[in-house]
């Protein structure tokens, strides 16, 4: 691996994502407007229901997490969609790039944008709804953020595989995947309230464990033992599976002519 060369290839995808976001007014909506609407509506609902501070924090952690993951996965999901929309996919794959360059480059921008959403939404939650984000300490916060970004990477990589297989039609998956995952992992409620069979599904989602871990600092009991072990193990397994899936779909695209079809 030649580091400067690889760094430039990663930088190519990172710089492209950053430029597209900067030029796109809707990216501002994605990052600020919709998350803010989400936080305010959920926060105001907790106020109306007159909930205690811990429960408010429980719910707002879910709202902040949802927006953070949603934004963080978008850059990765869009990494190839930009090329599909521009019909330039064949030029990107004509260059000597590897999947790692795409995943790391676009993923880095997603991480920065996700972090920004977390900071801004966290600030709003603390300022307006007295949520205490700092109780788990810097270590707890860092672990929780890492878990969220790993989940975002899993969603983004799955969408990449779908884009390589189905092209533009996969766009809807960029949003649908994360909403489905967030519904199942106990975003606004403990997973114990889910019907038993949905609870089983929640157990295979890493975010379930990271939310549990973070929330236990606020006095909520753990439904699962060793949440970090399960959370990180599942994340690593899913990332490996997704990487293999993207790799396979790319290989298949070279046989099926998908790269050419998506560039017409």
């Amino acid at each position: 691996m030649r580091l400067p060369t690889d760094f430039n290839k990663i930088l190519a995808f990172a710089a492209r994502s950053a430029l597209v976001n900067r030029r796109n007014i809707f990216a501002v909506f994605e990052m600020l407007f919709w998350p803010a609407i989400g936080i305010f509506s959920v926060g105001l609902l907790t106020r109306f229901l007159n909930l205690d501070a811990e429960t408010v924090t429980f719910i707002l952690i879910g709202a902040v997490s949802m927006n953070t993951i949603q934004i963080a996965q978008l850059d990765l999901s869009y990494a190839l969609l930009y090329s599909v929309w521009a019909k330039s996919l064949k030029h990107e794959f004509m260059a000597p790039v590897r999947l790692t360059h795409i995943l790391v480059g676009a993923g880095a921008v997603g991480l920065v944008r996700g972090l920004l959403v977390f900071v801004v939404m966290g600030f709003f939650s603390m300022w307006l709804f007295n949520m205490d984000l700092s109780r788990p300490g810097a270590g707890g916060l860092l672990i929780f953020l890492t878990g969220m970004f790993l989940n975002a990477a899993v969603i983004g990589a799955s969408v990449l595989a779908l884009v390589l297989r189905f092209g533009q039609r996969a766009e809807v998956a960029a949003w649908a995947f994360s909403y489905l995952m967030l519904l199942l992992c106990g975003l606004y409620y403990p997973v114990s309230v889910l019907p038993a069979w949905i609870g089983k599904l929640a157990q295979i989602i890493p975010l379930t464990y990271f939310l549990e871990y973070y929330r236990h600092f606020y006095g909520f009991s753990l439904n699962y033992p060793h949440p970090l072990l399960y959370g990180f193990s599942l994340s690593v397994v899913y990332l490996c599976v997704c990487y293999a899936l993207v790799h396979y779909t790319l290989k298949s695209a070279l046989h099926r002519g998908t790269l050419l079809r998506l560039s017409e």
């Binding site: 794959f93 004509m94 260059a95």
Partner: protein
Amino acid sequence: MQTAIIAQGISKSFKTGFFQPRKQVLHDVDLEVASGAIFGILGPNGAGKTTFISILATLLRPDAGQARVLGLDVVRDAGRLRKRVNLAASGAHFLWCLTVEENLKFYGRLYGLGGKALSAKVGELLDLFELQPHRRVTFERLSTGLKQRLALAKALINTPELLFLDEPTSGLDPEMAGHIREEILRLNQETGLTILLTTHNLREAELLCGEVAFLKEGRLLARGTMADLQERLGLGDHLSLFFQDGVPALDYARLPGILVHKIENNRVDLKVDRAEERLAPILAAVSQARGRVVRVQLKEVDLTEIYHEITH
């Protein structure tokens, strides 16, 4: 002669839908292209030109056959080969919201360029294709001609040893198409860059290509230089002699190089193998037979004729 491309028995088919038979797009195609040449692949729509060029450019894998480009296998050594080749296609498509300069930088980075080397290369290409005044214009705002120039500039970002051009002037106005052709010729002459191009435009192939191959329905029908093909197909240049006082009595069929002849009023239409070479002896023979030629009309065989002969 060094060979830049060797393709042997390339076949490719595509699925056309569930429970549908596969469509065979290429049948057992063989091709060799010499280093430093401009080689044209000609054929009607759906002939398999783009499929073939895409296989050589590592964007598509063949079902059968082998191809080596610059000595590298297009499947096994695809990663190494991509560093040394590039592609420009008709209907240039790049990210709409990036400027000319940003698009070039993006592709430069994909080939591992960075820092001063990247800036220098981008600057050089902006100058070469007269894109400097448009460097800060986003792709969506460029005219078709400028987009195509950007496509060519992008194709040279990694200083390739071999360039694939898929219908490089398709959709351009004649003036812009002419500029692009001049640029292609200049690149080939000045840098020795090997170019494999597909085109519908036979005039373009005549102007640019030293050698051509004809594809039809996925089969390679013929290949060679214009002179080779002309000879092989028995096609001749058209020579018409117009006389003042009637056609002189002469056994035209026995004149050197005559393939076909036809006498009509005061005119003789001859089809000769090589008009330039045969004109003088024919005129001498006519003069000896006391024929008074008032006008000579010469039309050399062109690619259109060859194309028609091969593909119909």
